[in-house]
């Protein structure tokens, strides 16, 4: 069995029209993967950009996987929400990226999108807030039913992930 260490952080997000953002993240793997240590999902704190556009979270990601095969390589999915002064949470975007497969540090920019409703719903969202959300969260990291969606582009989430691979060369994997 080979082992993968994912050690990094969710730096922050830019390009969102809302401020006071927080991020819910999770890592989804296939059946052949076993999580040895670490939490595979979490939620950052709420951050308001002070100077410039970037909301900083610096949320740590530290995972240790063992795997029997290459299928089901870990995927990172994100949901960015904004929280207003009344404590209401509104969806700002869904994002996705694969965890890289080559060892080393990677700077990842994960763009996000959010589902659009009709023009009525869009108007309501602008004034009152709220808006359509995905019924099933797994549409973020699977592509099967995506074509049914009509979305708008959101901001970008910045990640820094370091990857350590172990024993892959024993099984002839070049990565």
């Amino acid at each position: 069995m080979a082992e993968v260490h994912v050690i990094g952080q969710i730096l922050g997000a830019t390009g969102f029209s809302e401020s006071s953002l927080f991020c819910k993240w999770g890592i989804h793997t296939g059946a052949a993967w076993k999580l040895l240590s670490g939490v595979r999902e979490g939620q950052t704190q709420v951050d308001t950009p002070q100077v410039g556009d970037m909301a900083y979270w610096s949320h740590p990601i530290d995972l240790h996987f063992a795997t029997k095969g290459l299928q089901g390589w870990p995927r990172l999915h994100l949901q960015v929400w904004s929280q207003d002064s009344f404590g209401r949470c509104q969806l700002a975007g869904y994002g996705f990226c694969h965890v890289p497969s080559s060892p080393g540090t990677h700077q990842l920019d994960c763009p996000t999108w959010r589902p659009l409703g009709s023009w009525r719903e869009q108007l309501a969202r602008a004034f009152v807030g709220g808006g359509p959300q995905l019924l099933h969260g797994d549409a973020i990291y699977s592509g099967a039913d995506r074509y049914r969606l009509h979305t708008a582009a959101g901001g970008t989430v910045h990640l820094e992930l370091g990857l350590l691979l172990r024993h892959f060369d024993r099984y002839g994997v070049e990565c």
């Binding site: 069995m1 080979a2 082992e3 390009g15 052949a32 076993k34 040895l36 063992a66 795997t67 029997k68 095969g69 290459l70 299928q71 390589w73 995927r75 869904y94 994002g95 996705f96 990226c97 694969h98 890289p100 497969s101 080559s102 990677h106 994960c110 763009p111 996000t112 999108w113 659009l116 973020i140 990291y141 699977s142 592509g143 995506r146 074509y147 049914r148 969606l149 009509h150 979305t151 708008a152 582009a153 959101g154 970008t156 060369d169 024993r170 099984y171 002839g172 994997v173 070049e174 990565c175």
Partner: protein
């Protein structure tokens, strides 16, 4: 025989003059002795002393008469000695000391002791190359700090030390017994030896009382805190049992008032107006209270993450460093003899700080190979003291250490086995001879397009030869429709659409020299808006990267155009545009046969670009072999130290392996009958047997 008159004026006299600023009054005899001593070597010394011996034997009376003069001279010298710089002092004093000895050698024994004495003194003087480096040193130890033992040796450097003289034994009868002669008290006062030198072994937080403390705590009224009372009890007990074993060296432990005051009021600069700042006050508070509450280390409040009103205690714990630190001071009372027990003569010899992580800070460092440290006392009589600090903690027994090592090794080994068992050893392997390509990718974004509501339709095309993919594989995908937003000058649509792709490459045709073809990723960008106007925005293609790793590919796209405005107007108002029938036309059309591809007549317009992020992995048994072979080769050649031949030998071995494999395959292909048990064709089938069995057909 007196040799004095014939001795020329030796340089040592001039040296004396320059160094001591004229306090040195050379006399003829002194000059002689200085010269003899300057020779330095023992042989000459002996020769020299033999002469001296003779001289004194004859001129003993003379020698004795000289002594008062010499003594007076010594008196004159000693204050000068104490004022001069110690380095030069030591050097000059060594000469003077030895010369002094030489002047009053007494008997043969005294002369015989010259080399020993001179050597000893020379050694004393040699080691008095003072160490001025009093910086602190940090040590780390995993053993409990209560096993720490220090030996402190304190010694006063005075003129009598230089001019240390021991009474000589009597040899001859007619010589005056100089054993009765003792150097009279010098100007600085004659002291017994014990007071000038002290050596104590001190343990961690071992309280040694100073004279001042003994005097103070014996008085019941002076005891205020329970600690004072405890000290008083101990002192009384000590007095009853015969006094304390230390005289000048004493210690302040962590619980003494001195420790806190010292930390609070320690001055760092020469500024007269230096007062402890706010931070110092806070740190001092922390340290002082640290003694009462040692268990508390900056704990994390689990229930509430943010404290809106931090308490004073919280501020102290969180705003300043809070590592519990234990301090101990080794002090020396350097007052004049008989006047011990005055606070103003206390000097710090050594500061020890130990924290809970086993970090021991010693300031100044252990003496070791450096020279001793010195203290110059101030006051009407400046004196020089030197001291050394040595670490005499007993080391752990080697058996114990070994046992400890074994326990640690067991523990870590077991933990490693547990982790390995969690991980296991399976892994899916490829078919031998196949290369498996594994791509995790995502369609990231599309930018620079004309219209809104974009979506990307992409698929992967495998080359026809040698490539295959699992049956359930989905090689194409359509992203969601995304409304663009402005990013700088461009309008960009974000998709973040994941896909994975797996294919195997089987190299069946070994003779072909052509490079293997790699799969191609085609993409098509389309827009579909609210009014259901469907437009083609662009076509593009990119070859999947052949190297494993992370790749961000930007595919530039174009769309076919028609001449004239009608098509464009239609495209704008209704939608619909020219489309490619076969998307593979973007690269090389599937129906293409021939040598030259001509696209003459196709009119296109450049549109935007699509960004893909691909993470490629390749798996093959060949990688296992070569890497292990490379590792083996490296180890063998490392031993032979043939780095330059590594690649050539490696290639030769690979070629041999390949040839052997081919031969094996060739042998397998041959019909079984041809191959005999030995694996070679039998000779009888080839050549007719001579003579006897000529008529018989050869058995094949």
């Amino acid at each position: 025989m007196s040799l004095t008159c014939q001795v020329p004026w030796p340089p040592v006299a001039s040296r004396g003059v320059t160094l001591l600023g004229g306090a040195f009054i050379p006399s003829a005899k002194n000059l002689y002795l200085g010269r003899a001593q300057r020779k330095g070597s023992e042989g000459l010394w002996l020769g020299g002393e033999a002469q001296v011996q003779q001289e004194t034997a004859c001129d003993s009376r003379q020698t004795c008469e000289e002594t008062p003069e010499r003594q007076g001279w010594a008196d004159a010298i000693s204050p000068a000695l104490s004022e001069a710089d110690p380095h030069l002092l030591a050097f000059q004093a060594s000469e003077l000391g030895i010369s002094e000895e030489g002047s009053c050698p007494g008997k043969g024994n005294g002369a015989a002791r010259f080399p020993a004495q001179s050597r000893r003194d020379a050694a004393v003087m040699a080691e008095a190359v003072w160490s001025t480096d009093t910086g602190e040193a940090v040590y780390r130890s995993r053993d409990p700090v209560r096993n720490l033992r220090l030996r402190v040796h304190l010694q006063r450097i005075t003129s009598s030390n230089f001019l240390h003289y021991q009474p000589a034994a009597q040899l001859g009868k007619d010589l005056i017994d100089l054993a009765t002669f003792r150097p009279p008290p010098t100007a600085s006062g004659h002291r017994p030896d014990e007071d000038e030198e002290e050596e104590v072994v001190i343990g961690w937080q071992e309280k040694l009382f100073s004279q001042f403390e003994v005097d103070l705590y014996q008085n019941e009224a002076a005891c205020q805190s329970p600690l004072d009372h405890q000290y008083r009890q101990e002192i009384l007990k000590l007095e009853n049992s015969g006094g304390r074993k230390n005289r000048r060296i004493f210690t302040y432990t962590d619980s003494d008032r001195y420790t806190n005051l010292e930390e609070h009021c320690q001055k760092m600069t020469t500024a007269a107006s230096e007062v402890p700042s706010f931070l110092v006050e806070r740190m001092a508070n922390v340290r002082r209270r640290r003694q009462d509450r040692r268990g508390m280390e900056g704990g994390i409040l689990k229930s509430r993450i943010v404290t809106w009103e931090p308490s004073e205690e919280f501020i102290r714990n969180s705003h300043v460093i809070n590592t519990p630190l234990q301090t101990m001071y080794i002090m020396a009372d350097l007052g004049p003899y008989g006047k011990l027990g005055y606070k103003k003569y206390e000097h710090v010899l050594c500061t020890l700080k130990v924290d809970s992580n086993g970090v021991i800070t010693v300031k100044p460092d252990f003496t070791g190979l450096k020279g001793p440290y010195r203290i110059e006392t101030e006051g009407e009589k400046q004196e020089l003291w030197k001291y050394t600090i040595d670490n005499v903690s007993s080391l752990a027994q080697p058996e114990e250490e070994e046992r400890e090592q074994r326990v640690f090794k067991d523990l870590y080994g077991r933990h490693k086995e547990y982790l390995n068992s969690l991980v296991g050893t399976d892994f899916e392997m490829t078919v031998p001879g196949a290369l498996r390509l594994f791509v995790n990718g995502e369609v990231v974004s599309a930018q620079g397009y004309e219209y809104d509501n974009l979506y990307v339709h992409f698929f992967v095309e495998l080359p026809t030869s040698n490539w295959s993919s699992p049956a359930f594989q989905q090689l194409s995908g359509i992203t969601q429709t995304c409304v663009t937003k402005s990013l700088g000058m461009d309008k960009v649509a974000y998709f973040s659409y994941p896909f994975t792709f797996e294919a195997s490459f089987l190299h069946e045709d070994e003779s072909a020299d052509a490079l293997p073809e790699w799969p191609v990723l085609y993409c098509e960008v389309l827009s579909l808006d609210f009014w259901q106007r469907y437009r083609v925005e662009g076509y593009g293609a990119v070859v999947l990267p052949a190297t494993p790793g992370s790749h961000t590919l930007t595919v530039s796209t174009w769309r076919p155009m028609e001449l004239g405005t009608v098509a464009e107007l239609r495209r704008f108002f209704i939608g619909g545009s020219l489309e490619l029938e076969d998307i593979s036309y973007v690269r090389i059309p599937g129906t293409f046969k021939g040598e030259r591809l001509s696209r003459f007549g196709l009119r296109t317009e450049t549109t935007g670009s699509v960004t893909f992020r691909l993470h490629c992995l390749q798996q093959s048994r060949a990688f296992m072999e070569s890497s292990s072979l490379r590792k083996r080769m490296r180890s063998v050649l490392d031993r032979l130290e043939g780095f330059s031949q590594q690649s050539s030998i490696h290639s030769v071995l690979e070629a041999f392996r390949r040839a052997r494999r081919r031969m094996q395959e060739a042998r397998e292909r041959l019909p079984q009958g041809l191959v005999g048990p030995s694996g070679a064709r039998s000779p009888s089938s080839l050549q007719p047997r001579p003579s006897v069995q000529e008529d018989k057909p050869s058995a094949i």
